[in-house]
């Protein structure tokens, strides 16, 4: 209202000036023109006000409340002094991790869309700047899921219309959130939009979980809030069972890593202080912390942990006990494989779903658990201690992986391991320019799974055949040399590094290690082996078209995520670039596509055998030893695997 009054007042004064100044003693005032201009101006103003009349109050929304308190100021206060850092953060996936669905946040095309899941329809309609979803009542679905009801029970759930109010993710896929029934509770819309493939898929199909897993009642307020917002607080009123979730800012913003900026901003308002200052103790600068504390800043989210004070967590999350720079162990307990023996179960899932049996975390995005188990972290001293910032930089990097300049090469390691750098080939026994001479190729293999792909383990280890045989965690050699057995790797490690001979099973001595994982491993092993078969360096090292034959077997894997990974690797095989496959399709459709793929493989083999290697289950004439193949697939590790990313 004040805005309109002041604007109209300015207009009136201007018109008065126009009329008054149009009168000049002793001159023709051009009266008619003067009045025409005045009336035209007033009319234009009136039309303008009508056209751009301010909107009424914004509609009530179910988003987390943004409450800037406890010394936080939000990222908008940072830009004026730190424009470059602000810009680099602004284009990062950290910023867009959680966004209000209004504006340009939704990546899915804004058109009416009908989706189907378990026989129920889900309809999305563009509404204003976002979407409305006609869907089975997510609160009723959640109640049934918590009660352990079968999927069939969901068929009776009534339909409701809910707006999409928030989105999470912007890198690989995007998830969508609708209001729940209790306060500003947010329920997950059960489909995600794959950004690469540009298609909707059921959310349960992009997570590695058994095919018969119930629809998970995912709620943003009770888990995601702790990392996907700055200083998020669930604010569950347990007595009323209602959420009033709040945070300083949606997404991972400046103060998530630098701590509350209020005191710093107040000090730096004074220009003299700014020009005299060489670092302000009122704000956390991770680059100036010791490596352990640096890493804890990333570890506050990139780790598997449980809160030390669970009751308090449901109210205030970690916001009261933790902020960047404060030791993590004051607010949470980092999970390790040894914790599986804890008298009180710390997590609902099996530890085997979180860790390999050697203690290496197997779920992506939990890289801090891997880092702290690395010898470079445990035994490193001073600046020679490995930290997240040894390789990553939030502000001097591309958004994808956020590697600091030069850290996609051996420079990441040779700062400490200088003698190796002087003659890399002598250490690696691979050509210096080959992927076999990249430090992280051998010491950080793709044995972590998330986001429908393998991810480099952040526990720095060396290839160890005994460990691979005992724990099932693939080693770097066999993830590149896909055609080789564990025994072959054992011989090389013995010859090159003096590692002792390892007693191996008949299977490990005769069949390619990657193939064993692909055909007989558990779901995570299958996914990781399938991912490796799509890697260019592995294709160069392993040669030929043979992986296609076995990736085709995974097109009918019971786990949708395994099928997805296999299909992505399949199209990278010679002769399959145009092969189409929908990993969410019904079993009949999938099997038909698998048969089509097998026919294509037969045609390839008819021209020229792709292999005669018995370790790859090919006979002397290039035919697949079907009985051995079926034998391995029958021995598949079908224990349920749930990797909770």
């Amino acid at each position: 209202m004040a805005e309109v009054c002041v604007t109209v007042a300015a207009l009136v004064v201007a018109l008065a000036a126009l009329i008054r100044f149009g009168r000049v003693p002793g001159a023709d005032g051009g009266g008619r023109t003067r009045w025409v201009l005045a009336v035209a101006s007033a009319y234009a103003a009136l039309v303008g006000f009508v056209l751009v009349r301010p909107n009424a109050e914004p509609e009530a929304r179910a988003l987390p409340r943004i409450v800037v308190r406890d010394g936080y100021v939000s990222s908008s206060a940072c830009r004026s002094c730190h424009p470059a850092e602000y810009a680099s953060w602004h284009r990062s996936f950290h910023r867009t991790m959680t966004q209000d669905a209004r504006g340009s946040a939704i990546a899915a095309p804004r058109r009416p869309t009908r989706l189907e899941l378990d026989g129920r329809g889900y309809e999305l309609s563009p509404e204003g700047g976002a979407f409305e979803a006609r869907m089975p009542d997510p609160d009723a679905v959640a109640r049934l899921a918590i009660a352990g009801a079968a999927r069939a029970a969901m068929s009776d759930v009534p339909e409701v219309t809910r707006p999409i109010v928030m989105v999470t993710g912007s890198h690989h896929y995007q998830a969508y959130w609708v209001p729940g029934a209790r306060g500003n509770e947010l329920r997950l819309f059960p489909f995600v939009y794959l950004l690469g493939e540009r298609r909707w898929v059921p959310r349960r199909d992009v997570f590695l979980q058994p095919p018969d897993a119930p629809q998970a009642p995912v709620r943003w307020n009770s888990n995601c809030v702790q990392c996907h917002a700055v200083a998020g607080r669930p604010k569950l009123d347990a007595a009323r069972d209602v959420f009033a979730t709040e945070g300083v800012e949606l997404g991972i913003a400046c103060e998530a890593c630098h701590g509350p900026g209020g005191a710093h901003v107040a000090r730096m308002h004074d220009p003299l202080t700014r020009y005299r200052s060489d670092g302000d103790p009122a704000i956390v600068n991770p680059a100036r912390l010791d490596p352990a504390k640096q890493s804890e800043i990333c570890g506050q989210c990139h780790a598997y942990f449980v809160p030390l004070h669970e009751d308090e967590w449901w109210s205030d999350g970690f916001a009261t006990r933790h902020r960047a720079g404060v030791p993590l162990d004051r607010s949470r307990r980092l999970l390790g494989y040894a914790d599986r023996f804890d008298a009180t179960p710390l997590v609902e899932t099996s530890f085997d779903n979180i860790f390999w049996a050697d203690g290496t975390v197997r779920i992506g995005g939990r890289d801090y658990n891997g880092l702290v188990e690395s010898p470079c972290y445990r035994f490193g001293k001073g600046t020679h201690r490995l930290s997240c910032l040894s390789c990553h930089s939030v502000h001097r990097s591309e958004p994808d992986d956020q590697l600091a300049p030069g850290k996609d090469s051996n420079a990441a390691c040779t700062g400490c391991h200088a003698p190796i750098a002087r003659d890399v080939a002598a250490h690696t026994h691979h050509a210096p320019a080959s992927s076999g001479s990249l430090c992280y190729g051998c010491h950080m293999p793709y044995t972590t799974y998330a986001l429908l792909k393998g991810i480099r383990a952040h526990r720095v280890t060396s290839p160890d055949v005994e460990e691979s045989a005992r724990t099932g965690r693939p080693n770097a050699c066999n993830l590149c040399h896909l055609d080789k057995t564990l025994a072959w790797t054992g011989e090389r490690l013995h010859a090159w590094y003096g590692l002792g001979p390892v007693p191996l099973s008949e299977r490990d001595r005769r069949v390619s290690s990657a193939l064993l994982a692909l055909l007989a491993g558990d779901a995570a092993q299958r996914a990781i082996a399938a991912y490796a078969m799509g890697l260019p360096q592995a294709q160069r090292a392993s040669g030929g078209s043979w992986p296609a034959r076995y990736l085709l077997e995974l097109l009918d894997d019971p786990y949708a995520a395994v099928r997805a990974v296999a299909a992505r690797s399949l199209v990278r095989q010679p002769g399959y670039g145009d092969f189409t496959f929908d990993f969410t399709a019904d079993a009949d459709v999938r099997r038909a596509r698998r048969q089509a793929g097998l026919r294509r493989f037969s045609a390839l083999v008819a021209r020229r055998p792709v292999s005669t290697d018995a370790a790859l289950l090919f006979d002397d004439r290039g035919g697949v030893m079907l009985s051995r193949l079926e034998e391995l697939m029958a021995a598949r590790d079908d224990r349920p695997v749930v990797l909770s990313e």
Partner: protein, 146 residues
Amino acid sequence: MTEPDTPVRVLERRHLAIGWWGLLVFLSLGVVLEALHGFKVGFYLDAGNDARRLTWRLAHAHGTLLSLLNVAFALTLRRLSRDALPVPAWSSGALAAATLLIPAGFLLGGMFVRGGDPGIGVLLVPIGAALLFSGVWAVARATRSR
């Protein structure tokens, strides 16, 4: 001995006054904007206030230039004629109103921003622009006719 108040003299004094007082106001606004930078005032500099920063800078720049235009207008009048008014009288009002409306529109638009958009005060700008064009057109026409 003072010159008689001819229409030209009246308008000349008026626009010299508008011009120089305008310069004082809008150059002062520049100093204020500098101070907002110096003291890192969030209302002006924070990330969500892009529109305010842009429109206030436009107010400063347009106000200063329009003040100079008023001075130029006054000097042009004398150059064209000493007695009879060489331009329509309304062109004086149009220039004076434009000198108020354009910077005021930017200032008000920046005062009440809506996300990335200025407030409705910015509507004063096109009105002022129309008046400015009218006035400039009238003066240009007068120079040609002499």
